[in-house]
Symmetry: C2
Subunit: 334 residues, 2 copies
């Protein structure tokens, strides 16, 4: 028969070893309990587009660190009712938290509020529903994105006074309007002028046709900022006019078509949003609320009308040119 002390001694020694080994690659979060069946779901519209990939990867990165499950659900269509239906299904599955972006702020609002009222820890990213009950919104600041594009344009044109610029935008769409306003304000400070603002028109062909018209009306154009994703359309018109390199083009976001054009020098630069941070910090914030980790320093924060989270996180934007493109090649790969 062995003595209890002897066994305890061995087990403590082994336990000590196990802890030491565990501590090499993990730290503890104190005062926080794991939740049963802990699970977070990201919900988007237009689930097929590459834009969501970094957001999803950011969420999965945080989920791995926290040891929780995270999954992704989206609706293929750009349709508010369809998105509300998917969000409803996700709510019915009773996840711990939801990270959601709204195709339409008002159409999705009742379903978002339903999720909050059901005790699900909701955060919003990319496209907000500001009047809903979500505590926080994580996204790029479109006005600042426009300003950054304007500063970049000034550098690309070596601060050429009197430079003439075209803006490609979608009039009436808030994020686009904010980007073009920020751009215009920034270039005006450098003595440059937006001489033409054209409608993107929802496809490369429309942007191509309208930029072609602009180039005929203003052959001395110096630069183009496409607030949306149609810079390849503008690039085609500039190429046909034999003005590649003379006319600097700045796009938004980064897909394969744009990567190729930047590589070839046909598009000077693009602005890539910090979508990864939306997913990463979105999950952290959802987790923090679900676990009661945050109270704004006010124990009765709900009754007080205080929020357990910051109001807004500006997830930033990066300039991508031929020089640093290689680092961004895999950003949209799942």
């Amino acid at each position: 028969m062995i003595s209890a002390t002897f066994v305890a001694g061995i087990s403590i020694a082994l336990f000590g070893l196990s802890l030491a080994s565990a501590q090499q690659d993990q730290v503890a979060l104190h005062g926080i309990k794991p939740l049963p069946n802990e699970r977070y779901v990201m919900v988007t519209f237009l689930s097929g587009i590459e834009f969501w990939v970094p957001a999803r990867k950011g969420m999965e990165h945080a989920a791995k660190q926290l040891g929780v499950q995270a999954s992704y659900q989206g609706t293929e269509k750009y349709d508010a009712i369809d998105e509300a239906r998917v969000l409803d299904q996700v709510i019915a599955s009773q996840p711990t938290g939801i990270l959601v972006t709204a195709q339409n702020p008002e159409a999705l609002r009742p379903t978002i509020d339903k999720a909050v009222d059901a005790g699900i820890s909701v955060v919003m990213f990319d496209s907000d529903s500001p009047k809903s009950k979500r505590p926080v919104f994580l996204a790029g600041d479109n006005y600042r994105i426009g300003q950054k594009a304007g500063e970049l344009m000034a550098r690309l044109l070596n601060n050429k006074k009197g430079a003439k610029l075209e803006v490609v935008t979608t009039i009436g769409q808030l994020n686009m309007t904010q980007r073009s306003s920020g751009f215009e304000e920034a270039v005006e400070k450098h003595g440059m002028t937006v001489v033409r603002t054209v409608e993107e028109g929802g496809g490369y062909d429309a942007t191509y046709a309208r930029t072609k018209e602009v180039l005929q009306a203003a052959p001395d154009l110096d630069g183009i900022f496409d607030c949306g994703s149609m810079a390849p359309g503008a690039s085609k018109a500039v190429q046909e006019a034999g003005k590649i390199g003379t006319i600097k083009i700045i796009g938004m976001d980064l897909d394969n078509a744009l990567m190729d054009l930047i590589e070839k020098g046909q598009v000077a630069a693009t602005l890539v949003q910090g979508a990864w941070h939306m997913g990463y910090w979105g999950l952290w914030m959802s987790y923090a609320v679900a676990h009661g980790m945050v109270d704004a320093g006010i124990p009765d924060f709900k009754q007080a009308g205080a929020s357990p989270l910051p109001a807004y996180v500006d997830t930033g934007v990066y300039e991508v040119t031929k020089e640093n493109l290689k680092f961004f090649r895999n950003i949209n790969k799942p």
Copy 2:
């Protein structure tokens, strides 16, 4: 002699029990190693003011959850050189991270960059040094604070068309200018007008004297928004004119003097910043960078020119009136 299997069986069972017990009040962060002598320091100017207390409490709350040390250092004076000196001493002590607010953006910039270059995980809060190398800034959005004050004023005055308002501000100080602009924009949407903008003048007495003049020139005034901390001065003038209740006063932040005036109904409301979130998420973000937990989804994010953190966190603002004041009573208590 006992068999190895037997001991292993017991030790695994005991280890399992220990883990289960530990799991009741802590969770693990996976893939993250503790750092030797891990320590975070908050550095401010005007260390005596109550405003920093919630920020400090937020930092300490996060530090407790993460099991790291956090301390506070400040300079008593409102002096940039003095703050740079204190920050230099903190850098020399080689902390893991620093949470710093700048009395002057340019004067503190070289010292902030020195900290970043020394490998210290720096984040900034409340007052930024935007051209420094800090990756993130956490603070209230002063323009939105002003808008919120304007919306609140409209509600307090029951949307009275043609209402006449006074703004007390410090002309030339960026945060104040942003607050008064946001306020003016919001009230104009409700058909109200800012008829007088006066200098706060750095004390209750100056604000009292100037508001007294305004009340003589515009006896039909409906409301006052003090963008700074001198609402008690404005309140005294309104009281002497026998207009308490008729003229609605909105202040900023919350100290004992303002608490008393709100309690007595002499000041209608104040806007309290989410300073707790500056400290709480500031520490989390500093910790995340120090531990290599975040890379923006781009392995070579430094060479790419991408940031490991969001660009900006808007820490929000809360409306405090007589109705919910009791919940905020202890917000500035250490």
